[in-house]
Symmetry: C2
Subunit: 222 residues, 2 copies
DNA sequence: ATAATATTTTAGAGTAATCTAAATTAATTA
DNA sequence: TAATTAATTTAGATTACTCTAAAATATTAT
């Protein structure tokens, strides 16, 4: 039905679309897949032919319902395999992306749904990104950036917006993985750097640039 | 290094080689991969160029040490994924082949070795085929065909030589999966059909044609 | 509003895999 | 051994994806 290459283009278009009302540009897709704009144009014609995107030349693309369904199913597979790799095979969260990029193209739907069941129907992947359900529905995460945190509130790390291995290793070292509880002791008024306090009263210092790429939620005792 | 297509050719050549001293013929490979002889010839040139096979035109091919190493590493992955699919995700043994055909091309060696450890270092796949170790070593199975079984001996089913879903479902129905213990109550002298007796004193009838495709070992109480 | 710049598309070609049909080589049989 | 048949290889095309360089279109800046 769809080749892995088509799937990768759709995934990229989906990610570039989400939260951006304007059409996605050829050059953005080319950058995100590190390929040439000429190749992208070719593929856009093919995807448009299959009604997976709406494409008007020189005007960029919008993903269709149908294309979104395909993209979300690949994203579902990717994130479920990431959970498998960290929770079952004990890989670190900064190691799993490349492997999941390959595994996500294994086509059996039955395999994915059994994997989901075996993993206990996880809601998020190791980076805190939500896992779409079989129908392509995504739980709204309600996350905000750590850069918006205030003192005298309790928060929980819920994800990251930079998925690079280096960034993830840095957060690991700082103890800032999804699930971790913290409060903000102090925010520097000049450079907006923060001192975070953990449950065990240890703490760590975080720059504003780093904070912008960490996602969190208000934590309420339930 | 090697594409999945190359890997599939190497696997096929390896399987056709094993136990046959003569070179493998172009047409045999074409049959086993359901492709044209012309395509096979093209690929043989490429594999020969990479020193994965020894190829002399019109004379067939022999796999090299290097080619065998690659083939065995793919077979190792295939069989480990089959164990994962049956033992962990609870698929039936007649369902796992197609999925393993895709999973075997996922390239991470670290993934394979962690999967191996997670599965408890299995020695055989769900069909009784031995799993090569990291160095490409295969345990000699010491299996023989059920067609050679004699009365007044205790045997254990150790594998199959026909891997088709239909055959596997038939054996499932008959209760003849790897591991099952049985003895031969009677062999018909005309058509060589057999009546097998299980541990629980139930029994089943097996034709000679079927028996030829079932592998077994002498069972000795240890 | 027109010129300069940036982006996108087309044109033409390359690689990896595939096919059919024709030509070549090997094997079989008379 | 020569002729027929079978197997294999070559030739020429096709599909999916890729590229660079040139042409077309859009954006921006004066």
């Amino acid at each position: 039905m769809t080749t892995s290459t088509e799937e990768n283009y759709l995934k990229s278009i989906y990610h570039l679309s989400v939260g951006h009302p304007n059409p996605v540009l050829t050059s953005e897709i080319a950058d995100s897949l590190t390929t040439s704009s000429a190749s992208v144009t070719d593929m856009l014609k093919k995807l448009s032919e299959k009604n997976l995107i709406e494409y008007e030349r020189y005007k960029g693309v919008r993903i269709t319902r149908k294309g979104e369904r395909v993209a979300l199913s690949i994203i579902r597979r990717h994130r479920l395999w990431e959970v498998f790799l960290t929770d079952v095979l004990k890989f670190r969260w900064d190691e799993v992306h490349e492997m999941a990029e390959e595994l996500e193209h294994v086509s059996s739907d039955e395999l994915v749904s059994r994997l989901d069941a075996f993993l206990g129907y996880p809601k998020v992947d190791p980076h805190g990104d939500p896992i779409p359900d079989t129908n392509g529905k995504l739980f709204p995460s309600g996350s905000l950036s750590l850069a918006e945190a205030q003192t005298a509130q309790k928060y929980q790390v819920s994800g990251v917006s930079d998925h690079s291995a280096g960034f993830l290793q840095f957060l690991q070292k700082k103890g800032l993985m999804p699930g971790v509880l913290f409060s903000v002791k102090e925010i520097d008024e000049f450079d907006k750097s923060m001192y975070l306090l953990f449950e065990d009263n240890s703490g760590t210092f975080i720059s504003h640039e780093i904070a912008k790429n960490i996602l969190m939620k208000l934590y309420v005792n339930s």
